[in-house]
């Protein structure tokens, strides 16, 4: 009896009133989500539109050929030849990748295949956190350590060189490259390795011939990320490379002072008058940079698709060419790489300034074209010799001075020598040789990043922590004094304000857009365009966001340099990341969860809000905290929109006032004629701690969540 009465008391069994179902808010919520998602998407596309609207009129006054082929960049005199800057950008990026990719890949191999599990865990965690080191900190290290080393080592007048730029970019890109490569190597299923071992292969043979080819898509992705990072880096470049808008002379001189697109914008935009042609020229540079990153992403997508096909075995659709009808056409098609190389080499010969560069450039280009052309025709097993040829060509090119010739001969001797030795030593011996190289590369990578951290910590700690008896040597309370008294408290509060503000703006927008995209958006062309737009903005350099912030907030809304403008610019910068991480996190929840909820008669939104979102929350939070870390570490987007150099107040209360920020404060310290390394190191260490703690928190959340995950 008692059980029956309890049943009778249950309202929804007795009560046949299902009217609550009609008060279904599903449609309303969908509309709201759509609305917010549209706003986010519009913002994302506005960046592209504004860039072209502001930069476009520049080309009505200066012709495209003058901009792209002119060799003299002096906006104040009306010279807008950006070619040296573009070439320098490519050279610096190329140098960085040549250094970072082998090092990163070797380190990843060490971590994924050779390191003991405990060491791997620790190193992996450290590396992921290190990916968050703000670029201004790298700039600091490059300026005060690396440049001095390069200057003294090679007996130069100054250390502001292409080489130091490439090196600092390489160190900067290392954590990202290692982390992505390691993930992809570990994602290679064990049964590939087993099959290889079962045929009597050594570990190294397995790694080189099975694991790396199978992990190629991830390695390509790492390469793209590395290039993106190198192309878009602003602050470190402003400090390190010297910013001379000239070609290196000769083109292969790694000790020459260079300028890249980002640093040119960063240094040049500030003093120009808004709306002038000079001002617009920097937007034209921004467009160039944006197109370059777009091209890198597109090429990468094509390559990734090809690799993907290798895994699924899908056939490539052959273009139908009627061979009988167009013999010339088919010949052209067959030798297209060579033809393109010839055209480019003529182009190079025309534009380059001095004779050596002309000849070297043209020969290298034809050589490369010929090599790659051969690569497509020659049978499989001969191909590696062609690859060696390419490497040699590069070696010759990079080092075409007399030292270069000498080094090239050594490289040739080494390659031939090792090949001859390899014929005679056992496979196990070869394995040992390669493992030694892996160990060397990974220790070099660790030492490079370790030195940077050590330098900053060793110099920064005495400033932050007051050692008894040493009180007099520094101003009191570095961390808690206002900037007038020589402290950095206003900068700390400013950075925190900017970070919180940016996430407060980006998180709601980004979350809604992410949920809409993954749960509601139909899989049509519009969605695809939106998604690829967001993806491209994800890899867009921060200086481009800075340009956008200047236009939208300072010009269109007529704001002054202020906290709000900085918050919004930073918010826009992390918006694409937040949208993507939310989308990924929500998508990772198995469809069966939603079905389970729908099968009980819930509405779609109930299912999402009560089941999917709670399960996806840790993923979203991780993304948000990473976004905060990025906000706190960025300098370029706030440089023109939000910062001031000194502040009387500890906290700026009005959002329409400019604030101090740690990153910019550090930059300003470093550009003073006589700066105190200790003060800069103290600021850098504070910034580093702030950002790395955020990154650490994000990864702890993620790893906890992954451990608890039951599905």
């Amino acid at each position: 009896m008692s059980t029956e009465t309890t049943f009778e008391n249950e309202v929804f069994i007795e009560d046949e009133d299902y009217s609550y179902l009609k008060k279904d808010r599903d449609k309303l919520i969908k509309i709201i989500l759509f609305f917010i998602a549209s706003i986010a998407t519009i913002f994302v596309f506005l960046i592209i539109i504004f860039l072209f609207v502001i930069g476009g009129p520049f080309f009505t006054e200066v012709s495209l050929t003058e901009f792209l082929l002119g060799t003299n960049w002096l906006p104040s005199h009306g010279d807008f030849g950006a070619l040296p800057i573009i070439v320098d950008t490519l050279l610096v990026t190329f140098g960085a990748i040549i250094i970072a990719l082998p090092l990163g890949l070797m380190t990843a191999i060490f971590l994924a295949e050779l390191a003991p599990p405990k060491l791997r865990k620790v190193l992996k965690f450290t590396i992921e956190i290190l990916a968050g080191i703000p670029s201004i900190v790298f700039g600091f290290f490059g300026l005060v350590v690396l440049n001095i080393i390069i200057r003294d080592l090679f007996g130069l007048h100054h250390g502001n060189t292409w080489l130091s730029g490439s090196l600092i970019l390489a160190i900067m890109a290392l954590p990202t490259i290692v982390s992505v490569c390691e993930d992809s190597i570990r994602a290679v299923p064990d049964y590939y390795r087993e099959a290889s071992y079962a045929m009597g292969a050594t570990k190294w043979q397995t790694i080189r011939k099975v694991v790396i080819p199978a992990g190629m898509s991830g390695i390509t992705a790492a390469l793209v990320l590395g290039i993106g990072r190198a192309l878009g880096e602003t602050m470190a470049m402003m400090l390190v490379i010297g910013n001379c808008k000239v070609f290196p002379e000769p083109l292969t001189n790694m000790f020459s002072c260079v300028a890249v697109i980002t640093s040119t914008i960063g240094l040049g935009l500030g003093p120009t008058e808004t709306g002038s042609i000079e001002w617009r020229s920097y937007f034209a540079l921004g467009i160039t940079l944006f197109i370059m990153t777009l091209m890198v992403n597109t090429i990468a997508n094509v390559i990734l698709n090809r690799i993907q096909r290798k895994f699924t075995g899908e056939k490539v659709k052959e273009k139908h060419v009627n061979l009988k009808e167009s013999k010339i056409y088919s010949q052209v098609l067959k030798y297209r790489i060579l033809l393109i190389a010839l055209i480019i080499s003529v182009f190079i010969a025309i534009i380059l300034p001095d004779m050596i560069s002309k000849v070297v450039g043209a020969i290298i280009c034809i050589g490369l074209g010929l090599t790659f052309q051969m690569y497509t025709i020659v049978p499989k097993n001969q191909k590696k010799w062609i690859l060696y040829g390419v490497i040699l060509l590069f070696a010759g090119w990079v080092l075409s001075t007399w030292i270069g010739i000498f080094l090239t001969v050594i490289v040739i001797a080494l390659i031939i020598g090792t090949r001859l030795i390899f014929k005679r030593i056992s496979t196990v011996g070869q394995e040992k040789f390669w493992f030694i190289i892996v160990y060397l590369c990974s220790s070099f990578a660790v030492i490079a990043v370790g030195t940077l951290l050590y330098y900053i910590i060793a110099n920064g700690i005495p400033v932050l922590i007051r050692i008894p008896g040493m009180e007099d040597s520094y101003r009191p309370n570095f961390l808690t004094a206002s900037s007038m008294e020589g402290g950095i408290l206003p900068a700390i509060t400013g950075t925190i304000q900017l970070t919180l503000g940016s996430i407060a703006f980006a998180l709601p927008l980004g979350m809604c857009a992410g949920i809409y995209l993954s749960e509601y958006a139909r899989d049509n062309k519009v969605t695809k365009i939106i998604r690829s737009g967001i993806d491209n903005l994800n890899g867009t350099p921060s200086i481009v966001f800075a340009l956008f912030g200047v236009v939208l907030f300072l010009v269109v809304f007529g704001l002054q340099k202020s906290l709000i403008a900085g918050m919004l610019t930073l918010g826009l910068m992390i918006l694409p990341t937040i949208i993507r991480t939310t989308e990924e996190a929500v998508k990772a929840i198995p469809p069966s969860f939603r079905e389970g909820s729908l099968a009980l008669g819930s509405s779609k939104w109930q299912g999402i809000s009560k089941i999917v979102l709670p399960a996806a929350l840790p993923g979203i939070v991780t993304g948000a905290v990473l976004g905060m870390g990025r906000s706190a570490g960025e300098t370029a987007p706030i440089m023109f929109t939000a910062v001031r150099t000194t502040s009387r107040y500890i906290i700026t209360l009005s959002i329409f006032q400019p604030v101090m920020a740690l990153t910019y404060h550090l930059y300003r310290l470093l550009t003073e004629a006589l700066f105190s390394v200790e003060e800069a190191a103290g600021t850098a260490l504070t910034l580093l701690l702030l950002v790395l703690i955020l990154y650490g928190v994000a990864f702890v959340i993620r790893s906890r969540y992954e451990k608890r995950k039951q599905w």
Partner: protein, 277 residues
């Protein structure tokens, strides 16, 4: 050029060796386990296994899940070395020498003892690259020889006619059964003497399974085979000898006919008649 001709000789010698194999050993036993014990961390997975595998015969190992049959198979070419926390006592004699002795060459032995896995695992490369992977590992670099090896082994695995026009296409585009035959061809390409098969048809449909079984009967003429299988009918159809394992012990080992029709052990009978497993 010097290297190429050397390789050619090596290949020819290997080839002759394979043909002469049957005359080289008096005893029929190719591989033998003596008092083999194996532990994963603390739990013992194999207990005192004593087994002899005969030349050019198919030996099947059957038993319920987790009885250690795959573990035993993996002991025979030391694939357990890859697994952490795995400890082995006892001997595995291959051609009279202990695989686990200190001066045994693991890689040479693995080359001689090929292995096929439960899930077809072609590398994500072209068909040609899959087959030539092993020979390249073992220092054959001449294109002509590699092409010959590819054709020869694809024919051995009865796959040639199906893939002859798509050698340059990715192996991942083949069907499951084709992939498994490709894996067999790949294992044969390094000229092994024994083939270990770990449930080679477990992930295939009945028709592909039948093709693999026919292939096994064909390969038996030239190779010694040891097959772990879940499928008792399969063991009965294709094997000459059968071993029944239970909880890490070899319960009974003998002629397939005898095991299936007149088992000596009560456990074997129960398993075969389907009372457990």
């Amino acid at each position: 050029m010097v290297f190429k001709s050397k390789n050619k000789n090596k290949l020819e010698i290997e080839h002759k060796n394979n043909l002469n194999d049957s005359n080289m050993y008096q005893d029929d036993t190719v591989i033998e386990c003596r008092n083999l014990n194996l532990w994963y961390e603390e739990s013992q997975a194999l207990m005192d296994i004593n087994m002899k595998f005969k030349r050019n015969e198919v030996t099947a190992i059957i038993g319920p899940s987790g009885c250690g049959k795959s573990t035993l198979l993996r002991c025979l070419n030391r694939m357990n070395d890859v697994i952490e926390g795995c400890r082995i006592e006892g001997e595995v004699l291959f051609q009279g020498e202990n695989l686990y002795s200190k001066n045994a060459d693991i890689r040479l032995n693995r080359k001689k003892i090929g292995m096929i896995f439960q899930k077809p695992n072609p590398f994500p490369m072209s068909v040609y690259d899959n087959i030539t992977y092993g020979p390249k590992i073992h220092k054959i670099i001449d294109d002509k020889i590699l092409t010959e090896i590819t054709e020869k082994n694809l024919r051995r695995a009865v796959l040639w006619d199906e893939v002859r026009d798509r050698l340059d296409e990715s192996a991942m585009g083949l069907s499951g059964g084709q992939q498994q035959r490709l894996c067999i061809a790949r294992a044969l390409a390094v000229e092994p003497e024994i083939l270990l098969m770990d449930e080679p048809t477990a992930s295939l449909d009945p028709i592909a399974t039948q093709k693999i079984e026919e292939l096994i009967l064909e390969l038996k003429k030239q190779w010694t085979m040891i097959i772990v299988t879940h499928n008792m009918q399969q063991a009965a159809r294709i094997s000459d000898y059968t071993g029944f394992m239970y909880l890490g012990k070899l319960i009974e080992f003998g002629n397939t006919e005898q095991i299936f029709e007149n088992p000596n052990n009560q456990l074997t009978e129960n398993y075969i008649t389907g009372r457990f497993g």
